[in-house]
Amino acid sequence: MRNTFVTAASAVVLSLALHASALGAEISSIAILTPEEGTDYGWNQQGIDACKAAAEAAGITCEVAQGLGYGDVRPALRELSEDGAGLMIAHASGYNTAAPEIASETKTPVAIVDTPQGLQKGLVADYTLSGHEGAYLAGRLAAKMSRSKHVGIVVSGEPPSWNAQSAGFAQGVKAENGDVKITYAVIGPAAYSDAAGGRRVTESVIAAGADIIFGQGNGSSFGMLQAVETTKAADGGKVYFIDVIGDKTPVSKGFLLSSVVWNITPIYAAMIKDIKDDTFGTKHYAIGLTDDSVKLLKTDQIPDDVWGAVQKIRDQMISGEIKIEPVFEATAVRGLMTDVSAAAQ
């Protein structure tokens, strides 16, 4: 009789637990894992800042595991899960294999990037973000300001997010002035911390005639910045740099023209809500101009009339008058570099 009672009680408790689980979960902390330190004025810093901001808004905490490199992060993921993280944000495309594995093993939800096809309800969400709308504006800006009518795109890899921005930039350049030449160069397959490579390739692109560089590179973008600071354009004048994701103004020396700045906080806030609503892993997340989660940085290098013109284009994009579709595939991006006029609507 006693055994029957215990069994019945256990069944009730278990069913209640499962029912609660099915309705969603309360979490007290989230965690983010980044390959580099959160002080890069870029991808890593924006991710960590957003994690902290979203957690604070939700009244929970954000655990930060930064500078993990691009190797195996399974031990770090397991440890964060054991520490009670209710969501682990694997903030690097190189973590796309390990994170879903650990999610299955520990049943702790994970968020990964650059894997839109990897959704698993309750376990794996993807946030392949694209600042292509901001990059389009950057392209319009670059085409307006280039003296040589030749701009360069230098990237340290070809993840989907960056491909979309490279394509958006190219479309913006061609929409502004079809005669402007675009030179596109990749430092290496995954040269995110190859600052020397960033400098070398950027110097070559400048030597080919570009006087504005649109750079995407994590740590290697500092090499690109160094190249524009120490290399003259063909006309002997300044070369300008357009950055992405973060704002490098505090460390620039007057060569930063602009940046396509991301705010990832709304994305992480939405993930926390989705976990509570039991809809995590069922949808894709996006950033854009409308809510200022993507915006173009205004610097002193941009004349007011040019900035005003770019803001008008922004308004047209928000109203839907100008539509830019993201291009995620590297092959398609390279194709755009030779003829992008047909792709821009």
């Binding site: 004025y41 070809e158 990749v186 600052a195 490579g197 070398r200 390739v201 030597a207």
Partner: protein, 311 residues
């Protein structure tokens, strides 16, 4: 394609090839000496990143590239001393210790950078060049090959110094014996441990110098993980060159040259997958050294700790 035909672009490509090759050359020459003496120095990546960090710190605070190079070499030697202690003196596994040193140094330098530079990201001015008279005036080749920092010429000259050491000196014979038949060297009255230790320390100095060059001249700054596997490429070059310094130079230059070719192909708008283009440097180096370096051989006692009397 018009950009490809400009002299400034071609010069920039060749200049970049040399700049990319020098750290590999220095690391490869260093690794080659360790291997000759029988020590497989997997920790060279850690020595390079230590050299990159200390080299940058030295140059930044002293405002002298030369003091930076000196600090970088000293950093490499410090890491190499640990390697020598653990692997040569105590006889621990060279691969395990080498990997541990690399991972440890990557973490340590990232941490130091975090506290020291992560809010300011200081950058060095462009390195002063030493033009070689007459040669530096040759169109394209002059500015590309003969207008570099003095350390570049010294690095290339080191190749011939190494050839001379290996072929003409007692030290070269001792190193060879330490790698091939350490027991014979011991019987001849030469201290095997001391010989191998000296080789490992030399490797550290060269790798540290390579790291310092990479940070100070190549990038003009230091960021975590900046070596990006350059040390491992140095190991590959040394392994494939199999004891021949000239082949290390050839491999490094081919690798650097192919990096520039990949940039040129992209600038020209060649619409083929970038991953395929980026494979070119690795394929070229392997093809060249496999084809022409087959007759040389690796030391018989490579990777085996020496213990007197052991069988």
């Amino acid at each position: 394609m018009d950009g490809l035909l400009s002299t400034s672009f071609l010069a920039a490509l060749l200049f970049g090839a040399v700049t990319a090759a020098i750290p590999l050359l220095l690391a490869g020459l260093g690794e080659q000496m360790s291997e000759k003496a029988g020590v497989l120095n997997i920790g060279i990546e850690g020595m390079m990143i230590a050299g990159a960090y200390l080299g940058f710190v030295g140059a930044y605070y002293s405002e002298s590239f030369w003091l930076g190079f000196l600090a970088g070499a000293a950093g490499g030697v410090a890491v190499a001393a640990l390697m020598a202690l653990l692997c040569v003196r105590i006889g621990l596994n060279q691969i395990v210790i080498g990997i541990a040193l690399t991972l440890g140094l990557e973490g340590l330098t990232a941490l130091l950078h975090h506290f020291q530079f992560s809010r300011s990201y200081p950058r060095l001015p462009a390195a002063a060049v030493t033009p070689i008279p007459l040669l530096s005036d040759i169109p394209v080749l002059g500015p590309a090959l003969f207008r570099h920092h003095l350390i570049v010429y010294l690095a290339v000259a080191a190749v011939w110094v190494m050839i001379w050491v290996y072929r003409r000196t007692q030290l070269g014979l001792n190193l060879q014996a330490a790698g091939d038949k350490p027991a014979a060297l011991d019987v001849a009255g030469i201290d095997v441990v001391r010989t191998r230790t000296a080789a490992v320390l030399f490797t550290g100095a060269m790798a540290g110098l390579g790291g310092a060059y990479l940070a100070n001249v190549g990038a003009g700054l230091f960021i975590p993980f900046i070596t990006n596997g350059a040390g491992f490429l140095g190991i590959v070059l040394a392994m494939l060159a199999r004891g021949r310094p000239l082949w290390v130079l050839a491999g490094a230059l081919i690798f650097g040259g192919c990096l520039s070719v990949t940039t040129a192909a992209q600038v020209a708008g060649v619409n083929i997958p970038t991953d395929l283009i980026q494979m070119l440097p690795f394929l070229a180096v392997m093809a060249m050294l496999v084809l022409f370096g087959r007759r040389a051989s690796l030391p018989a006692a490579l990777g085996i700790p020496y213990e007197r009397g052991a069988r």
